[in-house]
Amino acid sequence: MNEKQLLIYFLSQFDLAANKVEEILSELDEDFSFSKLCSVKLDKIVSSAAAEKILSLASKEYAKIYLENLKELGIKLICKLDEAFPEKLLPLEESPFFLFYKGDLSLLKMPSIAIVGSRMPSAYGRMVSERFARELAQNGVAIISGLAYGVDSIAHRAALECGGKTIAVLGSGLNNIYPAQHSDLAREIAEKGLLLSEYCPSSSATKYSFPARNRIIAGLSDGVLITEASLKSGTLYTRDFALDYGKDVYAVPGNIDNPKSALPNEIICSGQGMGVSSSKAILENLHIENCQKQKTNLQLSFEEDIVVKLLETGAKELEEIEKKSNLPINILSSCLTMLEIRGIISRMPGGLFCLK
């Protein structure tokens, strides 16, 4: 690694805005040495605290140690000047200068849809987020989201469960997963998908980092799907960025009285985006042929058939299924578990069952 690369990568640890980094680099005047960096009047470009920190650490040896540490953490780093930097981000005005990542960077070349929404979705929101994520992932679409509670994590999990690909963009450093409860999920995504962040690994999340990472989510995707979000949700940022960047915005219509469906409904009513009731329309827009398996060849027992037929008319609670199917409760619960294991139905908190 030459001194230029070393110097540029060295700058990644200060969480500087992309334009600041560019400014510093242009001040160097093609002389990418640490001695030159020390002579630049940094405090005119960045805050004096940051300038002091850069100056105190600026040395070739330290830069090597820093990169060595990153390697030990299993975190890889690319910058805007590298060839591998995602092309989709380059044209953006606020494109990040550095990207830290774990996992497979080539996923960025796949067609991708961002699925975002409320951190506390209703049962309906859970159901549709899961369904869209699964159907899209099964058809070779990478699911992008932000690893947050609610819709984000549901989308990631659904994609992973069916063996699809998923990309998580974090609002914190890769070594400081927020929310911490999703550390396991993050580990799994790093193994089977891609985990991305523009922040240095030890950075913690701030109030501003989440709206900021939403621009990367919007930028990286070919379209943004909003399943459920209220009018005050952070999802608004993702929608705005997506509209700014000229990406397709999709929204799942919901009950007009449900405050959590307010944002998708507004998007549909105002014509900002397209209302979708199944993944088919999105796949068509992405020019992907729907190769979803047909459910007709399923072998169902007599009881299972009754249950599946009932659920075809919508999600139901156990009591209702019991009443309408007239099956004894022990047979019914074993039958529901069997169907769940076979991946035909899914069970949601509150004892609600629905077809996948």
């Binding site: 156990l318 074993s334 294991i341 991946g343 908190p349």
Partner: protein, 509 residues
């Protein structure tokens, strides 16, 4: 003049012999009780003096010393009043009491000489009988309790005067007639019945399984979904108490002073529901005057902990030993006491602090972190001891008003009894009585799966992301489900049903 009579004291749930030695000698009038007596006993000199005087006996104006032997055991309560009074009276030959040594005495005295009821008669008499004592004088109010113990003669007395007359042979008192447990227990009725609970099929089925296999159970559901009602009905489907079990229960209730003295014995399975502000000691038992706690009062019955996560973490964790061993050992500075505590735990909780998480029509206002914190109160080791978790849904109005006949408790109980009989036969050489108590080795021995079941279990673990600790629990519950059906082998459908009772292992919480 020296007199010696016998009484009994309690240590834990067992009694031990106490000699009341009384010496009346010349000297300045004085009354002293020695032998590690607590305040209630120290004060008994006032009661004894007044009772003797007001029963028109002569109180010796001499130096009286009472020793309660063995002197190194701390003694509590007012049980020894009657014994002390009789000992003092028999020191005076004029009173003409000669056969005071034939009896053991239990009873508290009132100032007017009345003999008042005491706590713990049942355990005291049982221990005394086992130590070889035959004849007892107890307060009349406690007679019913004594009537269930065979092989002893118990005489109930109303007053000190009557006791003395009886001892002198001037008045005849008939020994207490033995009572038959079956006669009393047959009359017993629970006030609740499962037929009063509308809907909730899933929960009822889970409770049936819990009753059949002795499994602990956790109900998760929004407020007002009927969790407490279901739990209160649970004892009605448990097998009847056997006489031996009833004696164990009665002993504990007698010590705690919670026994219905008219009936004298507990013949329904106890149902205890301490409030979540209950202190740890009130649950486990102990304290300076060691008393059985709520979990011991629930022995052979049901301990219902409503709003489970609201109990302090420390309190919940203390349930670990009793859930495992069926006893609780309380160590205090003056004694280490073991109380039986073999209960079925029924716990209930909301899915989140506001209670609406997962609800179809009500919005949950809790943040994910709040929910995680709420659920984290239940530690792994405690969850390990709860075999069945179920979600209880809200009951709709139409279900509430439905005219459909629900199954009654007696019908369910018949099935439970049958399943229990199968288990008793299976564990005849294993020293356990129910599937829930199977050890890992026994689980391996008795819960064989066919290849279909094995495959299902494997798929379930992969697809449903069950936690590893669920494995043995699942098998035990599946064993019970198979027993309920009278099936010798655990079939795939039993496993599948058992899996549906593991909602907390799912990742969606």
């Amino acid at each position: 003049m020296l007199a010696k009579v016998v009484s009994f004291g309690l240590k834990g749930v067992d009694g031990y012999k106490i000699d009341i030695e009384t010496d009346v000698s010349n000297g300045l009038p004085h009354f002293e009780i020695v032998g590690l007596a607590d305040t209630a006993i120290k004060e008994s000199k006032e009661r004894v003096r007044s009772a003797i005087k007001n029963s028109a006996f002569e109180y010796p104006i001499k130096r009286i010393t009472v020793n309660l032997a063995p002197a190194d055991m701390k003694k509590e309560g007012a049980v020894y009043d009657l014994g002390i009074a009789i000992a003092i009276l028999s020191c005076n030959e004029e009173n003409g009491i000669k056969n005071e040594k034939d009896f053991a005495y239990l009873g508290e005295l009132s100032f007017d000489g009345t003999v008042k009821k005491i706590k713990g008669v049942m355990p005291l008499l049982i221990s005394a009988r086992n130590l070889g004592f035959k004849k007892f004088i107890v307060p009349e109010q406690n007679c019913q309790e004594a009537s269930f113990i065979s092989g002893i003669e118990v005489y109930g007395v109303k007053s000190l005067t009557q006791t003395v007359k009886f001892l002198k042979g001037e008045e005849e008192i008939l020994p207490v007639k033995p009572c038959k447990f079956e006669d009393i227990s047959a009359k017993q009725n629970y006030q609740l019945d499962f037929s009063h609970v509308k809907g909730q099929k899933m929960a009822k089925r889970a409770l049936e399984i819990a009753a059949a296999g002795g499994h602990n159970l956790l109900m998760i559901g929004p407020p007002g979904s009927g969790k407490s009602m279901l739990a209160k009905c649970f004892p009605t489907i448990l097998p009847d108490l056997t006489f031996e079990e009833a004696l164990e229960v009665t002993k504990i209730h007698s010590i705690a002073g919670e026994l219905d003295l008219k009936q004298g014995i507990v013949c329904t399975r106890p149902f205890r529901s301490p409030h979540h502000t209950a202190s740890t000691v009130s649950l486990t038992g102990g304290g300076s005057n060691s008393k059985p706690g709520e979990i011991s009062l629930a022995h052979n019955g049901v301990l219902f902990l409503d709003e489970f996560p609201e109990y302090t973490r420390h309190t919940i964790e203390t349930l670990r030993q009793p859930l495992e061993d069926g006893v609780i050992t309380v160590a205090r500075s003056n004694a280490t006491i073991t109380y039986p505590a073999n209960f079925t735990l029924i716990a209930s909780m909301n899915p989140c602090p506001c209670g609406n998480y997962g609800s179809k029509d009500r919005e949950c206002k809790c943040s994910p972190a709040q929910i995680a914190k709420y659920l984290s109160k239940l530690s792994g080791p405690i969850m390990d001891r709860i075999d069945i978790h179920i979600e209880v849904e809200n009951v709709t109005y139409s279900q509430l008003k439905s005219q459909v006949e629900e199954e009654s408790s007696s019908v369910i109980k018949a099935r439970v009894d049958k399943a229990r009989a199968i288990q008793l036969e299976r564990f005849i050489n294993d020293k356990i009585f129910s599937n829930s108590k199977m050890s890992a080795i026994q689980t391996k021995k008795y819960c064989n799966l066919d290849s279909e079941g094995e495959l299902l279990l494997k798929n379930a673990f992969e697809r449903l992301k069950l936690s590893a600790r669920a494995h043995d629990r699942l098998l035990r519950v599946a064993r019970t489900i198979a027993d309920l059906e009278g099936e010798q082998n655990i079939l795939a459908r039993h496993i599948a049903e058992a899996i549906s009772y593991r909602s907390l292992d799912r990742k969606y919480f």
